[in-house]
């Protein structure tokens, strides 16, 4: 085929989307990386500053608070969301007459944006639970969970699980129903218990669902922003700021564009490393069936 034809085909099918992709994603990404090595102030830069922005970022104690808070959040939400989602998937596939309706209930929180969720749950923690605990004198909720760092952390986890377990549940359901019936039938004939079947047949045969769901929850954990802003707002005293919100605040509230952007690059490296490690471990489990 001649080159003119090839160029024309590229022009018709691929040029525009690739151009938009490059301008919107590749260009700011490359520029952002480049700017961290300058004294950029959000508008212009006058000289190169080496790794000064990075050393400054690591000297910021608030950044360390954020990093450890974020890592804790990622690990706990990863485990909690997946355990709950897998449990819900088992429940919904247990051939109950009400399973369609249950599935809807579990999935609906997922349709709603993080900000709306955050505001709803803020009302629950700050007003509803307190009023209930006063009425029935339950000590557990007498103070708002959002006023203290530890309880605010668990509040974030509860809302995250509530929001995203329904989505992951769908992925696990897809995995569960893709298992061939005769394999399960054979296990039943051999007298395997339900628990044994689950551990040695179902879970290994649906390993791909775990790879995907773990990847998504890992990524969502690092990138969580909406729920954070609308639920705790980072408070009390910036102790519950996840990394995403911390970067936003650093750049747009305090005007530290240089450190803000270098923290963003650090965040990217963390997400990329964690995702690569997780996917390669999970893939290995998939092969081993």
């Amino acid at each position: 085929m001649n080159t003119g034809y090839k160029v024309r085909k590229f022009g018709i099918f691929a040029a525009l989307p690739l151009a938009i992709f490059s301008v919107v994603l590749v260009l700011p990404f490359a520029q952002g990386f480049f700017l961290t090595f300058t004294n950029w102030n959000g508008f212009k830069y006058t000289e190169f500053s080496g790794v000064a922005n990075y050393t400054k970022s690591f000297k910021d104690p608030a950044f360390w608070t954020t990093l450890s808070f974020t890592l804790k959040f990622v690990v706990v939400s990863l485990v909690a969301v997946n355990v709950v989602a897998f449990g819900l998937a088992l429940l919904v596939t247990a051939k109950l007459r009400s399973s369609t309706i249950l599935r809807t209930f579990f999935f609906v929180p997922n349709l709603i944006g993080g900000v709306v969720l955050g505001v709803i749950w803020q009302f629950i923690f700050n007003t509803a639970l307190i009023s209930i605990s006063q009425r029935y004198s339950l000590p557990f909720f007498s103070d708002s969970w959002l006023n203290e760092t530890t309880t605010a952390f668990w509040a974030l986890i509860i809302v995250t699980v509530w929001q995203s377990s329904g989505y992951m549940m769908i992925i696990y359901i897809t995995g569960l129903i893709s298992i061939e019936q005769d394999v399960l039938e054979a296990a039943r004939v051999d007298g395997a218990s339900a628990f044994r079947t689950l551990m040695t047949i179902k879970i290994p045969l649906m390993a791909q669902a775990f790879t995907i769901s773990l990847f998504l929850t890992l990524r969502n954990g690092f990138m969580a922003y909406d729920v954070n802003v609308a639920l705790t707002g980072g408070g009390p005293y910036r102790t519950t700021e996840l990394i995403s919100m911390h970067i936003f605040q650093d750049a747009f509230a305090f005007g530290n564009f240089g450190t803000g952007q270098s923290k963003a690059v650090i965040m990217f490296l963390m997400v990329a490393t964690a995702a690569l490690v997780q996917v390669s471990i999970s893939k290995r489990m998939e092969v081993q069936r």
Binding site: A14, I20, L91, G114, V115, F123, A264
Partner: protein
């Protein structure tokens, strides 16, 4: 043996009911409190409203500029999703059918870009596009959604197109059809299941997105998620209004979901298996 199975099912049913109650409870709270005056909410947030009081809704609608926000949300979501369907299906067709090193590398770059968090480019992003945004912020936002969404959507289409035998397009080419005709008349209709997935995944994301619109839009062009953020600071004063506003904000997407429930579920599962 049989009776053991039945008790087991009863236990499962009970667990399911308790859990679904926990998942729905927050919505119930929003619903019942949206109709109550402030004092009643404070006294007992769990009580059923005594009368159906619509004033909260009136005030919330006014404050959120409900119909304008709803229209903005619909315009932005519909245009972005349609553009994403057209652009990424064509790009995927090109990449899947062109066997060259360049197309392979392009595809890999697209896949790799999916792990780049928006936060990693948000800051330079705003200074690069400041002028475009001030010119027409809704158009800019749609443009950004195409840029950010094209990788995942192309990936989904690519997986599907690769499974369709090449003989099909070759036969059509033999009959004298050009590439565009082959794509739109033969290929695109076959892609319907993926198109549903692409539409749903992107619509959910764009409809609920908060961070990007917050950076880009102005009060006149605000979307529904931005309009609900208004109630965030006003908590100490107007609970009822906030609850009514939240209810209004979530209603459109829930109705949409209930209508297209089956497509949603299969859309997510096909999207995930890829």
């Amino acid at each position: 043996m049989k009776s053991q199975g039945r008790t087991f099912r009863k236990i499962i049913f009970a667990v399911g009911s308790v859990l679904s109650f926990a998942y729905v409870m927050p919505f119930v709270l929003v619903f019942i409190n949206a109709f109550k005056p402030k004092y009643d909410i404070l006294r007992n947030p769990l009580s059923w409203p005594k009368t159906l009081d619509w004033t909260n809704f009136q005030q919330a609608m006014e404050k959120m500029n409900f119909f304008r926000s709803l229209t903005n949300s619909i315009i932005i979501t519909v245009i972005s999703v349609s553009a994403l369907i057209v652009f990424s299906s064509m790009l995927a067709f090109y990449l899947a059918r062109t066997k060259s090193k360049l197309s392979k590398v392009t595809f890999l770059i697209l896949v790799a870009s999916m792990i780049v968090p928006f936060q990693a480019l948000m800051i330079p992003f705003m200074s690069i596009f400041a002028q475009f945004v001030s010119l027409n912020n809704r158009a800019a936002l749609v443009f950004f959604y195409i840029g950010f969404g094209v990788a995942l959507s192309t990936f989904l289409y690519h997986g599907f197109i690769s499974k369709i035998p090449m003989d099909l397009d070759e036969a059509a080419a033999m009959d004298g059809a050009n590439d565009l005709t082959i794509f739109w008349k033969i290929m695109f209709p076959m892609l319907r299941p993926v198109t549903a997935t692409v539409a749903i995944v992107n619509a959910l994301w764009i409809w609920n997105d908060f961070l990007l619109p917050r950076l880009v839009l102005t009060p006149e062009t605000q979307t529904l998620p931005l309009s609900t953020y208004l109630f965030y600071g006003q908590y100490s004063t107007e609970y009822g209004q906030a609850m009514a506003g939240l209810l209004l904000a979530v209603l459109p997407i829930i109705v949409f979901y209930l209508i297209l429930q089956r497509q949603f579920i299969s859309g997510i599962s096909t999207g995930a298996v890829k």
